[in-house]
Symmetry: C2
Subunit: 360 residues, 2 copies
């Protein structure tokens, strides 16, 4: 049976002002009527039981997530005491998964991506689990066929084809992971046909990732093992705090993936978007005949290429805007040039510097 | 003793969303901590007593204005049943003023202009009253020395100089009124030195304006006289409704001023702004070193030439904006290119057409 580890610790600052410390992106209904996290869990369907679901988040969010997931056992929601990037998060999850199921295969899933449809996604996970069963030291990733020369995603270069079962999606050995390219390189990738967008979803044996950490990050693994040893004892919280804080943060890509040998990529049979920033809302929700994407009550005059997000009570009127972003929330409004949206993260830093905590 | 007639019936739609039907521009604190109307009344100081102050507004605003001016007798606030432009408003006021004071001199003042300082303004009104005393059929206007070739104001061309008392402002006969010019013409006006901006403030005998209406607008005057005859009787409201509605709307400029013979202009010794639109807020409140004008809590990144108005709780963040206008109110936000602001009036029309009354 497959285990699911859902990484739900992000701060989502690119989605300020909708995303706040107490209710970041993964807890928002950005795409659809359910939170991103709820959709991530529901998307797994019957493939993963509640007892085999683990949500790793930051400590502040444990309470709201527990409230949002009454069907999950309390121990399924783990709060990190501090941010240490993805490798420690995944390593800890692998330890906890292996405690109950030494041979466990686990899928690692970001909590804030958009994936359609659930059926095809479950099929792909099942296929990945099958590929891991066939070669237990295998790491399986999912590649998205690029539709444009995106500079905002990492890429996976595929190698030789892997035999798959009838009806399965095409699968390949991974030749190389590539960081976010410039547009020229991205255009080459696109035309070569050998490159996928890296969707950041992995399937592997818990043992595989722990072995890799043991080799590449022995210090990190020692801290994580100390946490694992104290897990379920009265010292759990104290040890978690102390040992996790002592870890040096690093991403799973740098810590493991770039050095891994037996990595496969399944060509994802589902639609995917990382919903990385407000601009993604346009891709996701589509645009009207003025190229605008609107959520909530809006009146636009001479407005094109603009993303507006408000609710159904608070009216946003735009006049003479082109390629802008207007996000209304209860106590803060963002008006930005759509192409400057990286600066949204800068806003959060400046708010912190000014001590304007009510907007964080 | 001078009478003051304050025209407070405007809808202020250019200041949407701050200005609403139930609380239009003249009732807002746009410049300073008091409403424009309150400042207009207070600016008169001891020159005009409460009993000699008349506020003409629309019927819906009588109640809030009565509440805002406890010092004024109830009959000092007159509500028009419908919009009929300035001539009927001024004609009715002249009739009501003359009932109590057949020889009355009255100043007609818009309720939504910015004037500094009150002392110099009172001096100018007193000088105007003196000029009317000297020639009872005289109409006195106030001209503002233009500081730039404005296309947004009407102009007054001055003629021969009128002798004034020691210490008085310069005064001239009016040669001609000029409508809002294009920029080339405005530039010529500016360099000629013979042109003033028309500030829309008049001083005259009530008799003078009624005589002029009798000559030029006999039908209007007949309606107004029917209202005057019923004033103070149980039929007042009914007759006002019927007769005022029957009047054909026309501005005092077209109805009277353009045909008037004995018109003087005093070179205003005070600073003036008609606060005609949001852009005026920049002129009025000044700009910071990024050329922005900000009221309320704002964080700007790469933002220039922009006007932001919010309160001290609701944060507005702007990124990569140039020459924009952002106005936050409780249930509506306007984001506009600053130069498209004439379209703000169009917004109000579209809101009416959609039946979105909560934003009007």
């Amino acid at each position: 049976m497959l285990h699911a580890v859902i990484m739900a610790g992000g701060s989502g600052t690119r989605f300020w002002p909708a995303s706040r410390a107490a209710k970041p992106k993964q807890l928002l209904e950005l795409a659809g009527h359910e939170s991103m996290l709820r959709q991530t869990v529901d998307r797994l369907g019957d493939l993963v039981t509640p007892a085999q679901t683990l949500i790793v988040t930051n400590q502040r969010l444990v309470e709201p997530i527990v409230a949002q997931f009454p069907e999950l056992p309390g121990e399924s929601i783990v709060g990190e005491p501090c941010k240490r990037d993805t490798a420690p998060c995944i390593g800890l999850a692998a330890l906890l998964v292996r405690r109950n199921d030494p041979d466990a295969t686990m899928a690692v899933l970001p909590a804030d991506h958009v994936i359609r449809s659930a059926d095809r996604f479950q099929d792909a996970l099942e296929q990945a689990a099958h590929l891991v069963d066939a070669e237990p030291d295998r790491i399986v990733t999912f590649g998205i066929r690029p539709s444009y020369p995106a500079e905002i995603f990492g890429y996976i270069q595929r190698g030789s084809r892997i035999d798959v079962r009838n009806g399965d999606a095409p699968a390949f050995m991974v030749k190389r992971f590539r960081e976010k390219p410039d547009v020229t390189t991205a255009t080459e990738y696109l035309s070569s046909g050998d490159f996928y967008w890296n969707s950041g979803i992995f399937v592997w044996k818990a043992k595989t990732i722990l072995d890799a950490l043991s080799q590449r990050q022995p210090e990190m693994l020692a801290h994580l093992q100390a946490i694992g040893d104290a897990w379920g004892t009265p010292q759990q919280a104290e040890v978690l705090e102390k040992e996790f804080t002592a870890i040096k943060g690093i991403s799973i890509d740098y810590a493991v993936m770039e050095h891994a040998k037996n990595v496969a990529v399944i060509e994802a049979p589902y639609d995917w978007d990382d919903l990385g920033s407000w601009q993604a809302l346009g891709r996701l929700l589509g645009t009207d005949h003025h190229d605008n994407t609107v959520v909530g009550r809006h009146l636009g005059i001479d407005t094109t290429g603009t993303i507006v997000r408000t609710n159904n009570e608070h009216l946003v009127v735009t006049i003479g805007l082109k390629d802008c972003l207007v996000v209304h929330t209860e106590n803060a409004t963002l008006v930005a040039n759509k192409h400057d949206e990286e600066a949204v993260r800068e806003v959060v830093k400046q708010l912190e510097a000014r001590g304007w905590k009510e907007y964080l």
